[in-house]
Amino acid sequence: MSLQACDLGVKGRLEELTLALNLGEITAICGPNGAGKSTLLSCLAGLLKADTGHVALDGEWLGRLRPQERARALGYLPQSPEVAWDVSVEVLISLGRLPWRGAPATEAQAAIDAAIAAMDLEDFRHRPVSQLSGGERARALMARVLATRPGWLLADEPLANLDLGHAAALVHRFREQAAAGRGVVLVLHDLSMAMNHADRVVVLDRGRLAADGPPVQALSEDVIARVWGCPARWLGEPGARALSVG
């Protein structure tokens, strides 16, 4: 199930962007504020119609897919996701089954149970969302996406507002999902997270593709100086690098 962006353009936000994303790996989208990261993710999720170009899922243009088909293939977690009503964790996760209207109830329950297990939420199954900590809530929202059993996980800044421990735990869960064969695409602000945990990094600068490749290349000190406009140095060993700025 391939996901490709061809000559994607959104007026004032993205320019002629061509990308082919791969299943089984974590792709991080990085860039300074206003670079077009969230716009690109919205286009990839089929939520924003590009002015030029298109996004194709398995060669089929997203705009031509029925919304339900698209929803079954592409799981999307928005930035600062809201939960309007104080539902239980299980009910929240069951919302991920909405695109599977008409599927057998046993299949739905199995998908919900699997998502609860994958995000280690068994103890919180019946707890109202308002009584969860930030980290538990982030895991519950991720489980909601997993309950759809999509081929792709697209998350916009999923680690924002999480402390270090919870962020590391969530990244570990993303890694498990990629290892299970899903394509994982994350918009990340934290370059160290992208450097240490992504398989591939796409760097955007004012709507254009500035770099694309393994983290060591795409987030090299030269690229950071050029795109973010500040001198920076990577410290430490591969897989546990820290960024020193200034």
Binding site: S42, A45, G46, L47, R66, P67, Q68, R70, A71, R72, L74, G75, Y76, L77, P78, P81, E82, V83, A84, W85, D86, V87, S88, V91, L92, L95, G96, L98, P99, R101, R144, T148
Partner: protein, 321 residues
């Protein structure tokens, strides 16, 4: 959980209906069969009134539950879309032009008014599909209809027409017959059906607009369902009984803690609870002693609803503090 709640509400309605039939200015004791004109009072006055209370209450309760789900706001009320003021404006025009003298034309005018408000709402907000624009369009239509109603009242041809309009706007089920039941029931039931159809999309909206769209919700289809569902239920209610507020606000609140809190789980229980509330409230209005007639249902519910709304606001403020 939902099935048990629905069963309990149905049982409560089954108990409340016969009791409400016995209460009124003339009390009917089932053990004393000699009450004068008992069968006429029951079959021609109280039964249609009870059925109308159930139908309109169900429509308002379901509309309130769907509206709160759509706007993701527990303070939302079906009146926000401007459909009730639109219907009321239609009715006011029927008084103003004198067509209200014909029993069928008043509801027809009101339904046309509701339809006009629905069309205007769809025209302004229909393309974009965003909730914020939709709400603002509803508020604009409300205030426009309100201003036109005031204009019609101030220019009313006779003091009698003015008094008729003002009294009618207060909302009541008094003196309603089977005719009103036949007019309101099909529209209301169709409206509730449409709102039930929107349930899954409203559930997805719990996660916000972007996440709902990513789950396959078509915002324009949902908006069309909401306009049709709210328009049919609220429009039919205003057409036969005037403006009855607060049921749509209060009922979903009372019911929500008894469900799993998904908007779709709330629609049918809210319809049943709305039916029960309006039946009981109308019965109380009928038996409360009041000089010069009976307490208007619309006024009674507003008197009860306003403190409830204040209580909600204070509770939310405490929650935010």
């Amino acid at each position: 959980m939902n099935q048990r709640l629905i069963l309990i509400l149905l049982l409560a309605i089954a108990v409340a209906v016969p009791l409400s039939l016995l209460a009124g200015r003339v009390w009917i004791d089932p053990l004393v069969p000699e009450t004068r004109n008992a069968s006429v009072i029951l079959m021609q006055l109280r039964l249609p009134r009870a059925v109308l209370a159930l139908v309109l209450g169900a429509g308002l309760g379901a509309a309130g539950a769907a509206m709160q789900g759509f706007l993701r706001n527990p303070l939302a009320d079906p009146g926000l879309f401007g459909i009730a003021p639109g219907a009321a404006l239609g009715a006011v025009l029927s008084f103003w032009t004198g067509y209200a003298a014909s029993a069928y034309l008043l509801p027809v005018f009101a339904l046309v008014g509701a339809g006009g408000a629905m069309a205007l709402l769809a025209l302004i907000a229909g393309r974009e599909g965003g909730v914020a624009l939709f709400t603002l369009a509803g508020l604009m239509i409300s205030s426009l209809a309100g201003a036109l109603m005031s204009l019609a009242i101030s220019l009313s041809p006779t003091p009698f027409a003015m008094s008729e309009i003002v009294t009618w706007l207060m909302g009541t089920l008094a003196d309603r017959s089977w005719r009103e039941v036949w007019i309101a029931t099909p529209f209301t039931l169709a409206g509730i059906g449409v709102l039930v159809l929107a349930g899954r999309s409203l559930d997805a909206l719990t996660l916000g607009e972007a996440a709902a769209r990513s789950l396959g919700v078509d915002p324009r289809r949902l908006q069309a369902l909401m306009i049709a569902g709210i328009g049919l239920t609220v429009g039919a209610g205003v057409a036969v009984a005037g403006i009855i507020g607060f049921v749509g606000l209060v009922v979903p609140h009372l019911v929500r803690p008894l469900t799993d809190r998904r908007p779709s789980s709330l629609i049918i229980p809210s319809a049943l609870a709305g039916a029960l509330l309006l039946l009981v409230a109308d019965c109380l209005c009928r038996i409360l002693p009041l000089a010069g007639g009976e307490l208007r249902l619309g006024i009674a519910l507003s008197l009860l609803g306003a403190p409830f709304f204040l209580h909600l606001l204070l509770k939310m403020r405490r929650g935010l503090a």
